[in-house]
């Protein structure tokens, strides 16, 4: 037999985009090196978090490359293919463990801990192995695992926000448990290895549609993937979702009305028609989740604001009240942007600019309506919810700050611009990700910034509003009518 071809080398040669995605989590390790240079003053939590990012990034890179290959039936019958995969993971874990041990012994911030070097290194290696194994399992079992590294930023950000100030003493207590870390690592490692070695996982990878990282910028591929996934879902589960039949009929009627009337209706009528059409939820379960989830978030985060404000060193006061708004914007705004796109295509070129404005305004109207509804929920919660006693603390419901209804004005044009640029037919997912980033950006600027910063944020938004219809018109004309 000739020398075994390394899957990872094939990958690095052919799939630079996946290599790039590996660096998204791996980049999070940069603070580690910066902080490590600061010696004993370095933030130990961030160093440990960065090590974890490195483990997750490596696991993601290897497991994703393997999953892409396992998705093809060709590899299923290659004898020793899965053994080769296991070997690669063992090598990667061994290198990571070696790096961890060296750093644990060398870095002054770790040396300052009261934990002895051997238990410390064991615990850290255990922690790395646990993260590595769980990431590998997540990649192989989660259909949307392609997006994991791009969402890792938020996980790290939230972890830093909540636990960034954990004292070295607390961390030392956690790391002084080598037996527990070792046992959990052996358990997780064995679980991952066992899953990887079995043909069942390979079979599942062949059967389950998978979107490779390199296809994330290709609308046609994403559309194909979603169709395959829907087909696969239907095949696996023949049970109808409750309410789908009725909603399907309502939607079919609306679509028929829309198709029949679009030639005779004016632009405004068209915009209103599309607005109504897109307001009928396609999946009642999601609509129900929004209906129940938003009030629940309003209540929980209103109390959390009170808890946060009472802390000696509160984290971003006033920030959490904005989360229900963000959740609604992610879902509703992305969906409406997508569905309003045909507006320009149905009309003559001279009307496309007006169509762009109307489409954008209808999206904005939906977001503002959502904001208004959440605001009313907050008012009701503020009026009716009692003061809670948790231990020795008293928690009162806290209203979100008054800037929040302004958020859609700043947030919507960013997403619309990205949407115009990418024209992601059939896929609102990238939109939602972009939307969340722009939301955080403006949210923080309006919440934490000085008057000048807030003014700049609003200025940027106004500029984007003015630019957007032109960009949109140019894109529609160039990509769809040419």
């Amino acid at each position: 037999m000739s020398r075994r071809v390394k899957i990872s080398s094939l990958y690095l040669r052919n799939r630079p985009l996946l290599g790039l995605s590996f660096f998204v989590p791996a980049l999070l390790a940069i603070p580690f090196f910066i902080l490590a240079g600061r010696g004993a003053d370095a933030n130990l939590f961030l160093q440990i978090l960065s090590l974890g990012s490195l483990a997750c990034g490596t696991a993601f890179f290897l497991a994703s490359s393997q999953r892409e290959m396992m998705a093809r039936a060709f590899t299923f019958l290659l004898p020793g293919f899965r053994r080769g995969m296991l070997g690669q993971h063992l090598w990667a874990v061994a290198l990571l463990a070696l790096l961890t041990v060296i750093l644990a012994l060398v870095l002054p911030s770790f040396a300052m801990l009261p934990t002895a070097p051997a238990p410390l290194a064991t615990s850290l290696v255990g922690y790395m192995v646990v993260l590595y194994a769980l990431t590998v399992l997540l990649v192989f079992h989660f259909p949307y695992s392609t997006w994991l590294p791009f969402n890792a930023v938020w996980v790290v950000w939230l972890a830093t926000m909540f636990w960034g100030k954990t004292s070295p003493a607390t961390l030392a207590r956690l790391l002084d448990q080598p037996l527990i870390w070792g046992a959990v690592a052996v358990g997780c490692g064995w679980w991952a290895l066992d899953r990887l070695a079995r043909p069942g996982l390979h079979r599942r990878c062949v059967e389950q549609p998978y979107l490779p990282v390199a296809h994330m910028k290709n609308p046609a591929r994403i559309e194909k993937f979603k169709q395959a996934r829907n087909r696969s879902g239907k095949a696996e589960n023949s049970e109808r979702r409750p309410g789908v039949k009725l909603m399907g009929k309502v939607r079919a009627w609306a679509v028929a009305q829309h198709a029949r009337g679009h030639r005779s209706r004016g632009l405004l009528g068209e915009a209103i028609g599309l607005f109504l059409l897109t307001s009928i939820p396609r999946r009642p379960a999601r609509g129900l989740l929004l209906l129940l989830g938003v009030p629940l978030m309003v209540v929980i985060l209103g109390y959390y604001e009170s808890y946060n404000a009472a802390l000696a060193d509160p984290v971003l006061p006033g920030y959490f009240g904005g989360f229900p708004f963000m959740w609604v914007y992610w879902t509703v705004q992305g969906f409406h942007s997508l569905k309003n796109r045909p507006l320009g295509l149905l009309h003559a070129r001279q009307d496309q600019l007006r169509a762009g404005w109307l489409g954008a305004l209808s999206v904005l109207a939906v977001c503002l309506a959502g904001s208004g509804a959440i605001w009313l929920m907050n008012l009701a919660a503020d009026a009716w919810l009692p003061t809670l006693q948790v231990g020795s603390r008293y928690l009162e419901f806290v209203m979100p700050r008054a800037y929040l209804p302004w958020l859609p004005l700043t947030y919507v044009p960013v997403t619309l611009l990205v949407f115009s640029r990418w024209s992601m037919k059939g896929s609102a997912m990238v939109l939602q990700h972009t939307g969340s980033i722009s939301f955080f950006f403006f949210h923080l600027m309006l919440l934490l910034g000085t008057d000048a910063v807030r003014g700049a944020a609003i200025g940027i938004a106004v500029g984007l509003w003015l630019v957007w219809p032109w960009v949109w018109r140019w894109r529609v004309y160039r990509t769809d009518l040419a």
Binding site: M1, S2, R3, R4, V5, L10, N14, R15, E68, M69, R72, A73, F74, T75, F76, L77, L78, P79, G80, F81, R83, G84, P199, G200, R203, V206, E207, P212, A214, K234, A235, E236, N237, S238
Partner: protein, 298 residues
């Protein structure tokens, strides 16, 4: 020819459901080493699903599949090394080059035949530097054949391997198959809609429809069993009722009739025809006619 009687493929009461759709229902069959079986049936009859179960790519809803003596779901490396599978849609990795795909397959198969590889790469005019994703369907199918057969597997499963090949390459592929069959030890299961090709290489025929096995027997026996009788009325008109022993299908007009019969006795047929007052002609059905008869009853 081998004298082993233990089947290389054994399927027992195999059912496969996709949600509410039944793809396979109660399939039971044994394939012996050295047999070359043509797997036939209309689209959606369950041929690909059956092949995928045999290589362990699908989990049965009910029933068992034994391949090379092991549960197909748990095939080990040794068994896999002896199996070649060329799938219908050439499920290769798009972003690899042709050369990398072949290298990957070669490096995993201890029995790889480099001479056969060189010969096939030349015959199929495959360029090593080209990306698989950029190949046409026919070229992908050629590459699928290269990586599926160059390790000279003992069990070769071909799922419509020639569907996208042009006539010249198809003929070359058939020559290759005949070459692989020569040693008599190799078991081949070939699914195809091109009956003229299947007829040239197989010795057993397995016809499926709607997820069930309609017929599984040697091709020669099948040919022997079905006859077409042509009746011509001697006095200008056929009797109202025409009935022959083993009659499967009847097509008639005023003065003549064509009757398809199963396992006819030539002497009995002549007697029955004489009793009807008809002149009789008799011939074997060709393969395509047999297939149509088994699947549609006509």
């Amino acid at each position: 020819m081998t004298t082993r009687t233990e089947p290389i493929i054994s399927v027992r009461n195999l059912d496969k459901d996709y949600g509410a759709t039944r793809a396979l229902g109660g399939v039971t069959l044994n394939i012996l080493p050295g047999q070359v079986v043509g797997l036939l049936g209309p689209n959606g009859s369950g041929k690909t699903t059956l092949l995928k179960h045999i290589v362990g790519l699908l989990r049965p809803t009910r029933g068992h599949v034994l391949t090379c003596g092991s549960e197909a779901l748990e095939l080990g490396g040794e068994q896999m090394a002896g199996i070649g599978y060329v799938s219908q849609d050439s499920e290769l990795v798009d972003w690899l080059t042709v050369g990398e795909t072949v290298d990957l397959a070669r490096s995993h198969h201890p029995t790889w035949d480099p001479e056969l590889e060189t010969k096939l790469m030349e015959t199929f005019a495959l360029e090593r530097g080209k990306k698989v994703g950029g190949l046409s369907l026919g070229q992908k199918q050629r590459l699928g054949i290269v990586v599926g057969v160059c390790h000279r597997p003992q069990l070769l499963l071909l799922d419509e391997p020639a569907a996208s090949l042009d006539p010249v390459v198809r003929q070359e592929f058939l020559d290759l198959l005949i070459d692989l069959i020569q040693d008599g030890e190799r078991t081949i299961l070939i699914s195809s809609h091109i009956l003229t090709d299947v007829e040239k290489v197989v010795d057993q025929v397995l016809i499926m429809d709607e997820g069930t096995v309609h017929c599984f027997q040697p091709l020669d026996t099948l040919r022997e069993e079905y006859h077409r009788i042509t009746l011509t009325a001697l006095d200008g008109a056929l009797p109202a009722e025409i009935r022959f022993t083993g009659q499967k299908h009847l097509a008639r007009d005023e003065s003549g009739a064509v009757v398809t019969v199963h396992n006819p006795d030539a002497r009995l047929v002549r007697e029955e025809a004489e009793a009807l007052g008809c002149r009789v002609g008799m011939r074997h059905l060709d393969f395509e006619e047999i297939y149509r008869l088994v699947v549609t009853g006509k």
